[in-house]
Each structure stands twice: as C-alpha cells, then as structure tokens.
Subunit: 459 residues, 2 copies
C-alpha cells in the first residue's frame, strides 16, 4: 500500500514527530503477535488521546489508509497484525486508570492500561475485576475488549463482555461514539457495547472502557488434585461442576503438560500422576474452608490419588507454579505451536480428551492440552516445526481434525482467542453463510470503506 | 394498511384456519400491552413452529406486510403493540421446554414458554435460572429476550442477556439464523446473540433460546428492614452494597408504596416506618445464616428501626407480600400510571429519592417509587387520570423532569423495560444521533424493508 510523504506528514502533525515512525526496527516490533506471524506495517503511530485518534481516522478515511489497532500484541489469532500494510495504531500511551468509583463499583480506564494494573489498582480499594487472561501482566484492556478475553476465573465470573458496561470509541469515519451505561442495568437501544466487545478491533477503536467491579472476595483457597488418568480427571471435572459449589477456577493439565513443567514444581508430585486439576475457591473465609473440605472429599471419591490444599497465599502460588510455567516452556519443545482454544460442553470433556489423544497418536506430533476445564475451554497446543513440510502438513490436519471433532460435540472453535486470521478459514464451519453476511453488513455500517483492521475474522 | 383476502388466505395456508384470525374480539385482545395503549392489528397469527414463522416472513417480505411479534403482552413500553396495523404474531403455541441438559447447565426452550415455568422446571432438576421479572408468572422467555428483562435478582445474578448463550431466530427475509453457542464460552464472530437480546423484537423473531443455568442455591434467607426515613434507607442501600456480601435482591419501597399495601401486610409494621427494604441472601445454609446476622447488625448500625429475618419459606413469603401486592394495587389509586424504570448509580439513590419527592410535590400527582435498589433501578410510578388534561400535562412534565434528573446523575432512562413507543421521544436525550444512526443501520441489515415491528425504539 505505502504511505505518501504528504500523508506521513499529516499524521505527524496530529501526534507529533516523536510518535509516528517508519523506522525498520519499529515496524518489525509492531509486525507480529503471539501467533508468531509477521507482516510489516507502513508506519506505527502512538496517539495520546481520543481526539488524536479521531483526527487520524478522519485523515485515514479520506485517504483510504488502513488502520490496525494494537495493544500489547499478545493476541493469539493475528488480530493486531498488519497483514496488508497500513498504519499500526498503538494504544500504549493511553494507559490511565481514569477513575475507580468505589461507591458504584465502576472503573473508567483508557484502552492501553495493562490488565494486571487494573487488578492491583481495584484490589487496593477492596474491589475486584475478575477477568484474568494468562497474559494479564502484559495484555491491555483494549485488547481484552477487542477479543472478549476470558481466563481461568471465567468459570465462576464470566468473561470480559460481562464486565464492560459502556464504551467510548472512535469509528472509522473519525467520529466519536458512546455506548452503554455507567449503571448496573441499561437497555436503551441496541447493545452496541457488546457488539464492539469481541469484534476484534474491526468496528471501532475503543478509547474509554467503563468496567463493572465486584467486592473483593474475602478469602481464596487453592487446591491441587492429582489423578492417575486424564479420563478420571475429566469425569471429576464434570461432576465437580454439578455441585452447588462453583470454584472460581477449574484448570487442568494433561500428562504431556505435567511432564513439561515437572522441574518447575516445588511440591511433590505423586508418582502415578497423569493429570492435575487446580481448583480455586473464593468467598467468605469460613465458607471457602468448608467448601475446600467438601471438594477434597468429593475428589477422593472421584478417584483422586491425592489432594493438596494450600495453607496460605504462598502455598497457593506454589500450586499455581506448574500451570503458569506451562505456556513459556512449550516453546522449548518445538519451534512452533498452534494453540487452539476450543470449547466443548463440560460433559464432553472426557470424550474430547480421548479425541485429542487420538489426534496426537495419528499426527505423531506432541499435543499438549490444558486449560479452563470448568467451562469446557481446552487449550490444545499442537507442537511442530513449520520448516518441516511433513510436520506442517500433519499439524494442519491435526487442527482440522480437532475443529471437526469440537463442532461435532456441540462446541465452538474459539472460547477466548477470537478468529483473527488464523481461524478465518474455519469460521464458516461454525457460522453459516447467512450469519456471516449479517456480520459483514454490520461491519459495513461501522466501516463502509473497510479501512479498520481489514482482512480479519471473515475475508 | 389492511390485508387483502388473497394474502389472508396465503397466511391461512401456512398455519391452518384455526390459527389465523381477524375477529374483532381477537384483534382487540392483541391490540395492547401493559402500557394500556391500544392499536388494532389487521390479523393475529399463531404459528406452531419455526418453519411456519419462516414461511410467514417469506410471504410478508414479498407482500410488504408488517409483522409484530408478541409473547404475553406484558411489556411496559408498547413493544408488542401494532401501532400501524399489520399482523400480530403470537408465540403462545411455541411453548415447549425442549431440553434441560443437567450435565451442562443448559436449557433449550421455545419463545412462548412462560418464565416461571422455566424456573420451576429447572429447579426441579436442582438448577436455577436467575432472571425473574415481576411478571414472571405470565411473561414469556421470548419477550424477556426481546426486552432483556431483569427483575429483583439482577443485583447478584445479572439480567437476561447474561443467561442467553445462543439463539435460533427468523429474520424478516424468512431465513433462519443460529447465533451464539451451547457452551459456557464462545467468541466466534460478532456477538449477534446479544445484539438480538434487547432489540425489542425489531431484528428477528426468536424461535429457540439456549439458556445458561446455575446450580440451585442451597438456602435462601429473606430480611425486611424498616426505616423512619427514605433517606436513611437509601444511604443504607449504598452502604450494604459496599460489603463483600451481595444479596440476591435488594428491593425498596417508599412511604407512598407502604401506605398502599398496608392492609395486605400480615406482619406488624413498626409505627414510624417510612421506608422498607427487602433483602434476600442465597448460598450455602450456614453462610446465609451468618450473612443475615451481619446484614442485620449492619442495618441497625445504619439507623434501621427494626429488622425482621424470616425463619422459613413461609415467613419469607410473608415479607415479600408487601412488595408483590404493590403493582396491582397501584391501579386502584388512579386510572392511569406511567411506570418508568430509571437507573442511577447506587450512590445517587438518596439524591434521586429527594428529586422524586420534589417532582411529586411540584406535580401535585401521587408518585409511588419502589424497585430494585441494589442496582439503582428505581420504578417510579406517576399516577394520574389521562382524561383530565391538567393532570395529563403535569404527568408528562413529571416524566420529563424525571428523565432530565436521571441523565444528569449519570443514569439511564430504562433499566429493563426497553424503549418501545413510550420512551422513543426521550431516547435521543440519552443516545447521540450518530449512535442512533448506527442502530438504524443495523436494523436495515436485518430488516431492509422495515416489516418487522416497525416504528419501535427509534422513529
């Protein structure tokens, strides 16, 4: 596409010389995300505020320049990648927590705020923002809104969508819109807020997010439960979820995952461990103690080899170590990984685990699966070397088989990562052509010139 | 508009003679909703299934006939009223609970199922569907989806939107769409599900609803708290909500409300009572007992005259009597009522209560306010006689003043009733013209000929 010197200069006038760049190093740094795919943009721009974003879009829509919004680039499906050049718009300078309204359980934040900073800021006020994607120490709330991020605590607390009350955003024409409310309830007009949440930065660039907060739970209790077979663990998950106790996290790791992180675990792993569940309860102190005992007894009844209950916060951190060490370690066993975040109905987890085992066997590749078992959200990592053509082909077939099985079990191909570019070709298997046409019609209402993050979700 | 005999006959072929009518009595019965406004349709049709609805719309879109979907007609803003004739499509025959999937916490239901039937059916399986609008014994789930219904339990559990995982629906072209998922998470494509929820039957006619369920809480504890001033009660509400205990209901009644239901109350009302809160806790048995004690102590600290804790279910029903008697009794004090469901930030409740008192004084009309105080959702009922022109004018000014104050306090003009026709002229005060244009653009994507429930939400 390319940017003319005149347009470059116009953009520079908006943000200042310091905040627009076309330097090779900067272009490279903003060319990729966690998928590892990389496409160079024509320029990278760092606006300071909503007004600058509006002016950037006014120019962009006039001159038909593509704008690709970007938070920290930790996305898993290529949503922030400039696949066809254009200007990457980075929200990192818009990183203020504008207000924490303790009386009304609301936070107002800019899109570039890192999610873990929201966690710590609101927790310091005795409040709680539940969504906690694994990347929370780097990912931004703007990106979380774009993808409708989830995380382990979604089992009990839901996902980003459930905590966004309202938005301010710039639409591709350069106009500013306000959606939603600053109150607990609100149904005036169509729900533009939740339409923009999860739209993967294709409808508008979010400039302010109004978040719903909860009171901070008084106590948290963490348990690690060891099984000698993934099948037993999978069955235990669906049974645990049938109790009236809803843990805030129900994470699982299969045998391949456990093997990978064995040396990072500071507690003793029972010898025959082939599957590990990490459960976390929160609420009132006495209540979580009681519930932990109930869950412990229940898991032993479901065939657990051992149940460890963390005595305190440090103990809980130890139990989480295994799970947290996993994602980074994965890159050590193969140069490339395909991380799919399928979801199946909870009752189908045992069946899905069996299918994943079969896919692993047939492909000859290492397939590591773990994830948010409590809501059926399985992160299935297919490890391979993409330079090896045979492996690459097998990996592609493995993904194909995985999605086919997922949809057959009544599931979805993406629970929290979005479609981006990596799942685009699979989307029509889940969503009918008529529904896709409606979505494209909506895209056109917001972005008639197709200048905002084009080529994502649907082609 | 009128229906030609040929079209009438075509419609008859779709549903059968028995299920299409143009009899005056039937037209009258389907001409109004809870607003009391009435407009005669040209015909009323009772389809049996999705396929018939699809065929009705294929014909309607060809012949440019308006279709107005209707559940039980208990809506509060005229959403189901045929303001310009057309065919009222009643979902009452599509009233099957298709499936309660206990393993996966999901129910699949047809749109015409009465909400309280969903409650009892899932509770019989140890499950729980939280949304409980006051009209739950008559309203249908299809109507609840259309309006994004709330109710008292929204404080803790959220509204209809939070429990709809997926939909099947017929769009005005007569084509069938499927949206969303049958799993706890899902982010594939734009969120058409939540776009249709709350769209007041203007985008599609819902034919199947996939509902998320929760485990049924093991215990419920109900408290009635009496105050000698609404101001103290209002301040207590915002303080209660700041505790880490979230009651599942926090309802309030002002002095005018209490006076109205005094004779229906079977428990003794402390003499100086001028405001009443009803709080309901749910969860584990021991936990709710403890929390009830904490809330009791807390309310006494906040100046309550007395706190009654129900000993059992019958006792709880007694405490609820006052609140439940209220809506029907209202009609006895004046021929007409305007029921507005404004929402303000919780911390602004005391201020809003003061404003309502002022509006009452200035208008000279009886204004009764009560509602879901825990989420700032106040039902403000302006009582008048619309045949009395002076009263009618004063009532209109009162509504105007109410909305002006609500928006000034950062609130919304509708928390759960929707816009329909009654709030249409006020909507532009809350939602900007650009946002309204986007909504109209979305309407056009679904309904280019404007045949589905036209003239609602925005003109």
């Amino acid at each position: 596409m390319g940017l003319s010197p005149a347009i470059y200069s116009d953009l520079e006038k908006i943000v200042g010389k310091k905040y627009l760049t076309a330097q090779k190093e900067e272009l490279l740094c903003h060319s990729y995300d966690a998928t590892g795919r990389s496409f160079l943009p024509d320029a990278v721009i760092f606006p300071e505020n909503q007004d600058q974003i509006a002016r950037i879009f006014k120019l962009a829509s006039q001159k038909k320049i593509c704008i690709i919004p970007r938070g920290s680039g930790s996305g898993m499906t290529g949503g922030a990648i400039p696949i066809d050049g254009g200007v990457v718009l980075v929200t990192s300078r818009m990183n203020k927590i504008i207000e924490i309204d303790e009386d009304n359980f609301i936070a107002r934040v800019e899109p570039g705020v890192v999610v873990s900073k929201i966690h710590s800021a609101v927790e310091a006020c005795g409040l709680f923002y539940p969504p906690d994607p694994a990347s929370s120490s780097v990912c931004t709330i703007g990106g979380n809104v774009g993808e409708c991020a989830g995380g382990p605590r979604a089992v009990k607390y839901g996902v980003t969508r459930d905590y966004v009350l309202g938005l301010e955003a710039v639409i591709p024409s350069g106009e500013i819109i306000k959606t939603g409310v600053s109150t607990a309830k609100g149904v005036a007009g169509y729900d533009l807020t939740r339409l923009i949440v999860g739209s993967e930065g294709t409808l508008a660039v979010v400039t302010k997010v109004i978040l719903k907060l909860l009171p901070k739970p008084k106590a948290v209790k963490t348990l690690a439960v060891f099984f000698d077979s993934m099948d037993k663990a999978a069955k235990a998950i669906s049974s645990v979820m049938k109790q009236a106790i809803i843990p805030r996290c129900v994470e699982y790791m299969d045998e391949a995952s456990i093997d990978l992180v064995r040396k990072f675990i500071s507690f003793e792993l029972p010898k025959k461990t082939r599957a590990l569940l990490i459960l976390e309860l929160d609420g009132d102190k006495d209540q979580v103690e009681q519930e932990a005992e109930q869950i412990k007894a229940f898991c032993y009844g479901a065939g657990a080899i051992e149940v460890l209950v963390a005595a305190d916060k440090a103990g809980a951190q130890n139990l989480w170590e295994a799970r947290k060490a996993l994602s980074p370690v994965l890159y050590k066993i193969a140069p490339n990984k395909i991380n799919e975040d399928i979801v199946v109905p909870i009752s189908k987890i045992p069946e899905m685990v069996e299918i994943i085992r079969k896919i692993q066997k047939e492909s000859g590749l290492t397939v590591v699966s773990f994830g948010h078992a409590g809501d059926g959200n399985i992160h299935c990592n297919i490890m391979y070397d993409k330079k090896d053509k045979v492996q690459a082909k097998r990996a592609e077939k493995a993904v194909d088989d995985l999605f086919t099985a997922t949809l057959k079990l009544g599931g979805t191909i993406t629970g929290e990562h979005g479609v981006g570019i990596t799942k685009m070709k699979y989307l029509p298997r889940e969503i009918g052509s008529l529904e896709l046409e409606i979505m494209k019609g909506i895209k056109k209402v917001f972005d008639p010139e197709n200048i905002l993050n084009p080529g994502k979700i649907f082609s």
